[in-house]
């Protein structure tokens, strides 16, 4: 099941609104729904996308010069709490900002997840908290992670379709089928209302959409 650009817009708006209506009812939903906002291109308002900025933990020892001390104290506090709960190797982990975008792919007519960080290399990205461990295949080059069963690389670099800035993106080619399966089971009357939620559920198998501050 694919979406037109207009349906994508409707689905995004519905997704954002759901968060407002019912903030506490669905803990899982809250995890990945936090912090997103709708952005539009200055000259072409019909070119819109979802955007948010999150903090990630990365096991980036020795590979980059920045460290947790570069971040404001109140952010660090949250991070430390998170680390206490979740990580046994606090000392080696660093905090980095990650911009995430949900952008419409006109080729595949479904949303695609784009993200970038402080110019992360692929080897660094797979060591951040953005991905569930074991979720990514092991074939990593400097510029792509191949998925053996697919004709497209699973994770590769590419320009943001609207902003034109370099990003990494998860290839959207197989998500449509999986979203459709979820939608079928959910038997909902208004598919656009739930489309993005189903999409996040599918991507949630690979991507950890939790944010530090939003997981209390």
């Amino acid at each position: 099941m694919t979406l037109t650009r207009l349906q994508f817009y409707t689905a995004c708006k519905a997704f954002l609104d759901t968060g407002d209506f019912n903030p506490a009812s669905d803990a899982l939903f809250k995890r990945y729904s936090e912090g997103w906002s709708w952005k539009e291109h200055d000259l072409f308002p019909e070119l819109g996308y979802l955007s948010r900025s999150v903090l990630l933990l990365g096991n980036l020892r020795d590979s980059r010069g920045y460290s947790a001390s570069d971040y404001p104290a109140e952010l660090l506090l949250e991070v430390e709490i998170q680390e206490d709960n979740a990580s046994a190797e606090q000392s080696s982990e660093e905090v980095l900002t990650c911009k995430q975008y949900v952008v419409y792919s006109p080729t595949f007519q479904i949303p695609a997840l784009y993200f970038n960080g402080v110019a992360l290399t692929l080897a660094e990205i797979v060591r951040t908290s953005l991905f569930h461990s074991q979720a990514l295949p092991t074939t990593v080059t400097n510029y792509a992670i191949d998925a053996p069963e697919s004709s497209f690389a699973m994770l590769s670099q590419g320009d943001h379709p609207i902003l034109g800035i370099p990003c990494w993106y998860l290839h959207p080619c197989h998500t449509a089928e999986m979203v459709e399966e979820i939608m079928k089971e959910a038997e909902c009357d208004d598919p656009e209302q739930r489309w993005l939620k189903a999409w996040f559920t599918v991507l949630g198998n690979v991507v950890d959409f939790r944010t530090f501050s939003g997981d209390a």
Partner: protein
Amino acid sequence: MATYSARPSPSAFSTPASTTLFRRLTWEGTVPLEIRVDSKELPANSDRGLECYYIQAPRVSYLPLLVPELKRFLMDVVFDEAAARVIKEEDWWFESEDGTLLKWHWPIGLIYDNHTILSSARTAPSSSHSMIPLRLILHLASPPTDKLLLSPSTEACKQAFMGQMKEADFIRWGNTKRMTGLRKAEQDGLWEGIKEHSFDEYWRVAAKITPTTTPTRSTSPPPAPSSTSLHSRPPSVDPNTGGGVPDRDGAYNVRSVPVRIYLPDGPILQDLVPPTLDDGK
């Protein structure tokens, strides 16, 4: 501004001469480039009188594919031995004279057109830009990784190119079976064709994935866009007979035409473009 994907269509058996001619003209298009090493980055003892390199580059090629030739020139003529030893071409990156970063994964023809149109829009219309080469500045270190894709190697360029080919395949046919159906050697042949600028090597394979242009129109009207037989008809028709039965690989059977519009200073526009208008033309 057309990329490879806007090129017309093939048939292994009977590509009309006009199609081959058009493909050949598209393929042979070149643009003049003047490439100069950033003077601040020239290693000590470089020969400063010669640090400019001129090339008539194929439109369908890519900047990383020029690097080996550039490197050879710089090593031979400009750098001394000490400098040549520490040169790392994987750190090289290009910008235009006015400071625009050049995307290495864009075809050179696209970079040229984009830049020429932008600068002609900024300056008086009387100045003629078409006659002068596009002036590029080559930087030897510290690529701005927040603005350019990483690792501008030939291999990364190939990966980006093949990804585009598969996307174009999906747009045309609704799946990537034609691309994935190619043997590895054939897929590599597509890229080798670009890399070596070999028309024959590229089109030997490209003809298998792009639509045929064998004219069947004179005896049979094209199917309506809503025709249900678009993808379900078995491949039982000899493409040479053309006897009024629409060719499964024919241009009228594509779902959409892969097109992107690169706006100077703007976003890239892409939408579904059906092969025919509503009236079937």
